[in-house]
């Protein structure tokens, strides 16, 4: 217990890193998902193929592998570009690699979530809006999006719940996140079990907190609808 207290500030910092990683990755994943869904729904065949390649690739590759590929492979790419143009060594930070990897992976899942939600909005509504003289932008903003958000939320939040646990995987590249630090500290003081138990409870706390927040948001977007 004393050891845990002694290391508490360090682990609090690790927890903050994990939370920040989650938030940044969530923003990036949402952007990738929105872009992906737009691409999949777009008329152009090239776009559809591009997005299909992205989602297939990401869903077929283990997260761990992709994180290692981005961190070490990305660094190799930067080094080669740097060597070719005579730049000095530019470091790809662990945090940026983690955000990019998680956002890239979960963006692929969100692509499907968003696409599904868009398709749940009946086409008749868009036809009616057109008949009433709404522009495409107005239709999207006033009619499709508010419903799309409501349809997308349960799936969206589900993916985010999974993603917060996936933040643990990023410790493989040595990022000083909660899991990485707890592992190092546990081994350093030869009490791995007590530190991993602490991590267990912190992640459980995250999940309970997120579930609470998400259910409130879902209720808010579902207001006015009978259930």
């Amino acid at each position: 217990m004393d050891t845990i207290l002694e290391y508490a500030p360090l682990l609090a910092g690790g927890t903050a890193t994990t939370v920040l990683l989650f938030l940044c990755a969530a923003v990036f994943a949402t952007l990738m998902g929105a872009l992906g869904a737009a691409g999949k729904l777009a008329a152009g065949r090239a776009w559809r193929w591009l997005v299909m390649g992205y989602t297939t690739l990401v869903r077929g590759v283990p997260e761990l592998l992709l994180i290692l590929l981005i961190y070490f492979g990305g660094q190799r790419g930067i080094n080669q570009i740097g060597d070719a143009f005579g730049f000095d060594y530019i470091e790809l930070s662990k945090f940026a690699a983690g955000v990019f990897a998680l956002g890239f992976i979960y963006g692929a899942y969100l692509t499907e979530t968003f696409r599904g939600a868009y398709m749940t909005v009946p086409t008749g509504q868009r036809d009616a809006a057109k008949a009433l003289g709404f522009t495409t932008a107005q239709t999207l903003r006033l009619i499709t999006l508010p419903q799309l958000v409501r349809f997308a939320l349960p799936g969206y939040f589900n993916v985010l719940q999974v993603m917060i646990k996936a933040t643990a995987v990023v410790s493989i590249i040595g990022l000083a996140d909660l899991v990485g630090l707890a592992g190092d500290v546990g081994k350093s003081v030869r009490q791995p079990f007590s530190f991993y138990m602490l991590v267990f409870f912190i992640y459980l706390g995250f999940t309970i907190l997120l579930t609470e927040v998400f259910s409130r948001v879902e209720k808010r977007y579902a207001r006015g609808l009978d259930r």
Binding site: L10, G13, F72, N79, Y89, A96, I172, G180, D184, K187
Partner: protein, 249 residues
């Protein structure tokens, strides 16, 4: 113009500016007492003290970069650090991808048994050893008169030594010292005999890893190791962590 600024800003957040330190050293931080994480997040231990001593000797400023053990060689290869000082044993497999300096330590193998025991008494006795280790091969090759009892894990060998089922055990000296002799169960037991570090069985020790082809840096480390051995700086660090000479024979 605006987009140029944006690109620069993105690059700046993605990358940390070139470090002021001359050398970046990859360390592990999860292998006490060689390398462990302190409460303030810094890495401390024998490896780190040696790293600082070597950098001082070479007249370079060094920065410790914490790296996960599994990613430590890729980190070196992708230039995230310039050298690995992480108790890495020099092995032929590793030498296919990186180069090593001379060893900076080699934990010897040692016998442990009831306090007061000697090697001369070993003939015909039973020695516990972990299965498939360098220690098993060493005992089979060099101590044919000893009966071996093999264990799946080192901890089982300790338990049977305490229970009296074996007369002695042989393993890495640090493993025995930290995992057994320093614990309550190890009371009344002690090391006996000499330090065993035969390259044929035990390899050549832990070295400093550098990228292949960086001969200058590799030689600089090897020379610096020799010099801190000579100046006594090595012994000072050694004494801080261990009560025997960890450099080996």
């Amino acid at each position: 113009m605006k987009s140029t600024f944006a690109a620069v800003a993105v690059l700046a957040t993605l990358s940390t500016a070139a470090q002021a330190a001359d050398l970046k050293i990859c360390v592990e931080g999860a292998y006490p007492p060689f390398s462990s994480t302190a409460a303030d997040g810094s890495v401390v231990g024998f490896d780190i003290d040696i790293a600082n001593a070597l950098c001082g000797e070479m007249g370079m400023s060094c920065e410790m970069v914490k790296s996960d053990w599994d990613g430590i060689i890729p980190a070196l290869l992708e230039r995230k650090c310039d050298a690995i000082i992480a108790s890495m044993s020099i092995t032929p497999e590793r030498m296919q991808v990186i180069d090593f300096s001379n060893k900076y330590y080699q934990t010897p193998a040692k016998f442990a048994g009831a306090a007061g025991m000697t090697v001369a008494e070993l003939d015909g006795k039973t020695v516990g050893v972990q299965r498939g280790t360098i220690h098993q091969s060493f005992l089979e090759g060099e101590f044919p008169g000893v009966e071996l009892k093999l264990y799946g894990s080192q901890d089982e060998a300790y338990l049977d030594l305490v229970a009296g089922r074996v007369d002695a055990i042989m393993a890495d000296s640090i493993a025995i010292s930290d995992g057994f002799l320093a614990t309550d169960a190890g009371e009344g037991f002690a090391f006996f005999g000499g330090d065993y570090a035969d390259p044929k069985y035990h390899g050549v020790g832990a070295g400093i890893g550098v990228r292949q082809g960086e001969e200058e840096l590799r030689n600089a480390f090897s020379h610096a190791i020799g010099r801190i051995r000579g100046t006594g700086e090595y012994s000072t660090i050694n004494a801080k962590y261990f009560d025997f000479d960890i450099y080996g024979g």
